[in-house]
């Protein structure tokens, strides 16, 4: 009975929430009729998943509530500039010869306006939403792990407690089920700190990306710059720990027939391409998975607004389906958050393991 009551309440709450959203969008629609601006799904979604110079929290009609973040740009013409993004007034105004481009190649990026009216992109070291989120996640990771390490150092022989008992199974899982089988029992220790760090970094940021409110919601691991850096770390570690055998096998694998190597070095080309494809794939996989999750969830929400533009009743109707699917997506994304962190760590470990392989273990 209580179960039924609970589910009825949830549906009612969802309807009420969507009603509020509809009201807001109606106001927006009324306000925007002058400019005949329609609801733009693409803009909404990309506005959410891409980086930004301010941390937008919510909007009431035309009042935007957001946290301004520092803009740090270096221009070859006018040198270094440091100011808060609030100076742009949510991208509507210029400041000091800089503005946030509204269209073109540099849309939503800070550009410098030249004397002849063209827009030039400066070196941009701004503490953007993603950089802020990065700092917050690093702060959280350091807080958690340094406090845990203190407890481990003081009484290692006690059973884990508190957050330690959440982290410990994951640490043991990464050590026993990722590092040991992929790298080998005798050499995994050297790479374990890196694997643990990327796992917890990706996992935490995936989860933070799912939380819609500050300090979450920045879609950090769904940003290709972040995943590229992570993949580069794996690439550098793999290349620097590669055994002689790894490089010899790459250019001259004794197990491959000669005609694949001699007149035209077919296999060596494929192998060497593989060295670069591996980190590239790591980059794309994490980025695409996390971004896709965000796009799908936002797409379901956008359905409400798209339908309510046609008819208000259809909007209410579709909101039930949309919210159900978004909740489902949210649960799925929780799983994806873990799986992607696991996959990235596992593949990094496998690549390191492959690079370490000696002739004996290969046979």
């Amino acid at each position: 009975m209580t179960k039924v009551l609970k589910s009825v309440l949830i549906v009612l709450f969802a309807l009420a929430a969507s009603a509020n959203l509809l009201k807001a969008s109606d106001e927006l629609a009324v306000a925007d009729t002058a400019s005949a601006k329609k609801f733009n799904t693409g803009e909404l979604i990309f506005g959410h998943i891409r980086d930004s110079y301010e941390w937008h929290i919510t909007s009431f009609g035309h009042t935007h509530l957001s946290i301004p973040l520092p803009v740090i740009v270096y221009s070859s013409q006018s040198g270094m500039h440091v100011f808060m993004s609030g100076k742009f007034h949510h991208g509507t105004e210029e400041f000091n010869g800089f503005k946030i481009a509204t269209e073109g190649k540099y849309a939503a990026k800070v550009v410098e306006i030249m004397a002849d009216g063209t827009e030039v992109r400066p070196w941009d070291f701004s503490i953007t939403k993603n950089v802020t989120s990065l700092f917050i996640s690093i702060f959280i990771l350091l807080t958690i792990f340094l406090s845990i390490a203190k407890r481990y150092r003081e009484n290692f022989d006690k059973a884990p407690k508190g957050i330690q008992s959440w982290i410990e199974p994951l640490v043991i899982f990464i050590r026993d089920d990722i590092a040991k089988p992929s790298i080998g029992n005798d050499r995994y220790q050297k790479y374990l700190p890196y694997l643990l760090t990327i796992f917890f970094f990706i996992f935490l940021n995936n989860l933070m990306g799912l939380v819609p409110l500050f300090p979450g919601g920045a879609n950090l691991t769904g940003n290709i710059s972040i995943t590229l850096v992570l993949a580069l770390f794996t690439f550098v570690i793999t290349s620097f720990s590669g055994s002689r055998n790894y490089w010899v096998h790459m250019v001259n694998d004794p197990g491959i027939p000669l005609w694949l190597k001699l007149p035209l070095p077919l296999m060596p080309i494929v192998e060497i391409m593989g060295v670069f494809i591996k980190p590239f794939v790591l980059t794309i996989r994490l980025f695409a998975n996390i971004t896709a999750g965000h796009i799908v969830a936002l797409g379901f929400y956008s359905l409400i607004f798209i339908f309510s533009e046609k008819s208000l009743v259809a909007g209410y109707g579709i909101s039930v389906i949309s919210i159900t699917f978004t909740v489902f997506m949210g649960i799925l994304e929780l799983l994806v958050a873990f799986i992607q962190a696991y996959v990235f760590t596992l593949l990094s470990a496998l690549y390191i393991g492959m690079a370490l392989e000696t002739h004996e273990s290969h046979a």
């Binding site: 990309f46 070291f125 990771l141 350091l142 792990f145 390490a149 220790q189 700190p193 290709i224």
Partner: protein, 164 residues
């Protein structure tokens, strides 16, 4: 497409801050955590091993105890048996000794009695002789009145004495 193009600023911050994160965690978190984990695992393995050893030891002790107990029982039986044997032999010896002693006492008593008897007889003999002499003297005094009778009498007595 802005979405798939890496952004230089974010790339830079990520590279710097992730390197620092990695270094700090490696130095101050993973080191102690992993060491503690393996220490704890070793501790548990050791504890299990020592528990196993203790069990083995216990078993060994128990079987040792049983052996000792068995030996003790055997020892006790032996001692009891020895004691019983000893007792019997002591009793037997004592009986034997006592028999010998008794025989000795009897023998000496018999010897003494014999000697006493012989002495008594000789005493009696001498007393009888004295009495006889006295009686004879008295009779003689009475009978001497008649000489022939006296003679006959004396003769008679003397004969009779000789018969003894």
């Amino acid at each position: 497409m802005g979405l798939v193009m890496p952004e230089f600023g974010l790339f830079f911050w990520m590279l710097v801050s992730f390197s620092i994160l990695l270094w700090i965690l490696k130095r101050f978190a993973w080191g102690p955590i992993l060491k503690a984990l393996s220490d704890r695992e070793n501790l548990i393995i050791e504890a299990l091993k020592s528990a196993e050893n203790a069990k083995e030891e216990m078993k060994r002790l128990q079987s040792g105890n049983e052996k000792i107990l068995k030996e003790a029982v055997l020892e006790r039986e032996k001692i009891v048996k020895e004691a019983r044997d000893l007792k019997e032999s002591i009793i037997r010896d004592a009986k034997h000794e006592a028999g010998i002693e008794a025989n000795k006492v009897m023998e000496s008593a018999r010897v003494t009695i014999e000697r006493e008897r012989v002495a008594a007889i000789s005493d009696i003999k001498s007393l009888i002789a004295n009495f006889s002499v006295e009686i004879a003297g008295k009779i003689l005094e009475e009978k001497l009145a008649d000489e022939s009778l006296q003679k006959e009498l004396v003769q008679n007595y003397i004969d009779k004495i000789n018969l003894n």
